[in-house]
């Protein structure tokens, strides 16, 4: 898994609430059998017309905005459990998603791929949007070790929560399978009275 420690980057603002995973990656693009290449269809129907012409007013098509941090309204990633949503965001070059609220499954999927979901307060989210509104190149610094997000221009900062285990996975690039496999004997012991156990 991809490692993450610290990042300073401009942001791509998407001030819309309840962005569901069908918007992030529509179902018709879920037919691939590998994890790569979903980025080109990220936010497909917001980003392109039916004839595949880019929609000029969508933020990802606006050259003013760039960076590895996606900032979105509350309840980001609701709906389907498709991990393709996290893959698409990552494949499009993002390493961090910031919102004031994340859907559970999306958050877990992101963490399992080294894409860092950061939940900030409504107030701080508003501050970020204001800073980017004022200056599109306005940057954020995300420091995972110290669990802080800082608006570079103003120095305004907020700390964020992350499960200590997940934090160490991100910093070291470990995944859950490595962790559980190391305890396989415990699982087998747990299963002893289980007649369903495979042959």
């Amino acid at each position: 898994m991809k490692k993450f420690t610290k990042l300073t980057s401009a942001v791509v603002p998407l001030n819309i609430e309840n962005i569901d995973t069908d918007q992030i990656i529509p179902a018709r693009f879920l037919k691939a059998t590998t994890r790569e290449g979903f980025g080109e269809n990220l936010f497909r129907d917001w980003r392109y017309e039916n004839d595949n012409q880019p929609k000029a007013d969508f933020v990802l098509n606006n050259p003013t905005y760039s960076g590895q941090v996606l900032v979105a309204g509350k309840n980001f990633g609701c709906g389907s459990s498709r991990e393709h949503a996290a893959w698409a965001i990552q494949d499009a070059g993002f390493d961090v998603v910031i919102s004031s609220f994340f859907a559970d499954i999306f958050k877990g999927n992101a963490l399992n791929n080294g894409l860092l979901p950061i939940q900030v307060s409504e107030e701080f989210l508003t501050q970020i949007f204001k800073a980017v509104d004022k200056d599109a190149k306005s940057a954020l610094t995300v420091d995972l070790e110290n669990q802080t997000v800082t608006i570079t221009e103003t120095g305004e900062a907020e700390s964020f929560e992350i499960n200590a285990y997940k934090k160490s996975c991100l910093i070291n690039g470990y995944d859950d399978i490595d962790f559980i496999l190391a305890q396989k004997d415990l699982i087998e012991e747990f299963e002893i009275p289980n007649p369903l156990k495979g042959a």
Binding site: N15, I16, E17, N18, D20, D22, Q23, P26, A27, R28, L30, K31, T33, T34, R35, D45, N50, G73, N75, C78, G79, S80, S81, R82, E83, H84, A86, F101, A103, D104, I105, G108, N109, N112, N113, T126, N163, A164, Y165, D175, D176, I177, F179, I180, L181, Q183, K184, L186, I187, E189, F190, E191, I192, P193, N194, P195, L196, K197, G198, A199
Partner: protein, 497 residues
């Protein structure tokens, strides 16, 4: 067949609170904790892993890269549902990528020794329909699937939740998941439902009350007299949509209704196993002094037939109500709210009654079971769909389809101008050919009204099977109560009062 908790189930995990009664979620969770360690998520044992063609290929690939087998293939069950056509299922799938994905599932299941109920198998169907009907879904189990509507299985008093593909790989490799114990919420619905109001209306009402994010972080236990009075299939409709308020899981304590439903099903325990299982299942309820992190109570009498007007399942209202005013929304949410109404082509403060409809879709893991089909057949018998409407009925499984034919429902649908198709997820998410065209309105018994969910730029109005059938017959959004006969018809369901 796992009918009782395994291993160290009697030992409460460190997160269990001494001296306080346990919720149903806590009882099942604690019985499945392989290891609980401060600062780490619990290692949770998974009894049953359901898989389908869309969210599994990358997980199988991951196993190959790691050189691992599926740890417990006999606890894994596969079906093809998301991509499959709903006409001429026995012919090769026309769409190349869909065919490839379904073929991959077949190959992967053969390679890793997993039972597959694929196209042509009499058990094939939507993964959340076949689990219960085959007796695979049982009280007290932990169940996962790479699909957010896995919460459906909670209707039996199981901990069931959707997972991402990395977690599918985790369960393949270890039969376990690393999971934080969820918070618990109890939602009680008490009293009697009114005429024309069913399970779908209950859950759409709850989501409209608490919003599309109101359940995030919780597992929800549904309780109260209105829930207890529901059939198993109606309970599945309720638990299915838990995720639409952000809750990964929703469950209902098993009772006689549950036990009667399970008994005799294909893979249900039988004989001595049944007796042992039943004795255990009867211990599965929240203790009277159990503490929930949140409790909400609703009155069934307040619930009308529901319909959604926006682009998330929380944007729902009683069918006679007007769409809430944009001005009444919190300042920060006005933009997103107006964007949703613009997408739908609706004005705020307007009624939907009388609004023309183009499609009616009766199907999905929410409402495609035999009771749904019977209810629609009862209603449309001796009626005909309106000319402007295309009406699809997509059964949840081959078994549901066969049962519908055995009962002659296919003839009723045909006479009413409804097309009975073959099983699959179909127009719920439009991964196969069953798409709603751009700009068209579809009254759908599915679970999501997101932008483009049923096809690019399609517009979805979520409703119950009865409300959908009423729209098909009149061609416009209709309060189904006005079309119901005052006396219970012969063979009708208890919902006609």
């Amino acid at each position: 067949m796992l009918t009782q908790p395994t291993g160290s189930h009697a030992t409460p995990s460190p997160s269990g609170r001494a001296g306080v009664g346990q919720t149903l979620v806590e009882k099942i969770w604690d019985a499945h904790v392989v290891k609980s360690e401060e600062g780490f998520p619990d290692i949770l044992y998974i009894d049953t892993h359901l898989i389908h063609e869309v969210t599994s290929p990358q997980a199988f690939d991951g196993l190959r890269k790691r050189g691992l087998p599926v740890f417990r293939p006999k606890q894994t069950v596969a079906t093809a549902d998301h991509n499959v056509p709903t006409l001429d299922q026995l012919l090769p799938i026309k769409e190349e990528l869909s065919r490839y994905q379904v073929d991959m599932l077949t190959k992967n299941c053969a390679e890793f020794g997993i039972e597959l109920y694929g196209l042509g198998h009499p058990f094939q169907g939507i993964v959340h329909v076949i689990g219960p009907e085959l007796g695979i879904t049982l009280p007290g189990k932990t169940m996962v699937c790479g699909d957010s509507h896995t919460s459906t299985h909670g209707a039996f008093g199981a901990i069931a939740f959707g997972i991402g593909t990395s977690q599918v790989e985790q369960v393949f490799a270890t039969q376990c998941l690393l999971q934080q114990k969820p918070k618990t919420m109890k939602i009680e619905v008490n009293g009697e439902l009114g005429k024309g109001v069913g399970a779908k209306d209950i859950i759409l009402y709850i989501i409209a009350q608490i919003s599309a994010a109101g359940g995030t972080g919780y597992f929800i236990e549904y309780a109260g007299s209105a829930i207890e009075a529901l059939s198993m299939e109606a309970r599945m409709t309720i638990c299915n949509m838990s995720i639409e308020m952000g809750a990964r899981g929703g469950l209902i304590a098993p009772d006689q209704t549950t036990f009667d439903y399970i008994k005799g099903r294909e893979f249900a325990p039988a004989g001595e196993e049944w007796d042992k299982a039943l004795a255990y299942w009867k211990t599965l309820y929240s203790d009277a002094d159990a503490k929930f992190d949140n409790v909400l109570t609703f009155d069934a009498a307040d619930i009308a037939p529901m319909i959604t007007y926006g682009t998330n399942p929380g944007m729902g209202m009683g069918i006679q109500e007007n769409i809430p005013a944009t001005q009444a929304q919190p300042e920060k949410e006005k933009l997103s709210y107006q964007k949703a109404l613009d997408y739908m082509g609706f004005d705020d403060d307007a009624s939907l009654i009388g609004k023309p409809v183009d499609y009616v879709f009766i199907g999905s893991c929410t409402n495609s079971r035999i009771e749904d089909l019977r209810e629609v057949a009862d209603f449309v018998k001796d009626k005909h769909k309106a000319e402007n409407v295309i009406a699809w009925i997509v059964p949840g499984s081959k078994q549901v389809e066969q049962q519908a034919i055995n009962e002659g429902l296919d003839k009723i649908f045909e006479a009413a101008g409804f097309q009975l198709r073959e099983p699959g997820c179909s127009a719920c998410l439009g991964m196969n050919e069953d798409k709603i065209p751009a700009g068209k309105y579809c009254v759908s018994t599915s679970n999501r009204n997101f932008e483009g969910r049923q096809g690019q730029n399609s517009r979805t109005l979520l409703a119950s099977p009865l409300t959908a059938a009423a729209a098909a017959v009149t061609g416009v959004i209709t309060d189904v109560r006005e079309l119901l006969t005052p006396e219970p018809p012969k063979g009708g369901t208890e919902r006609y009062q």
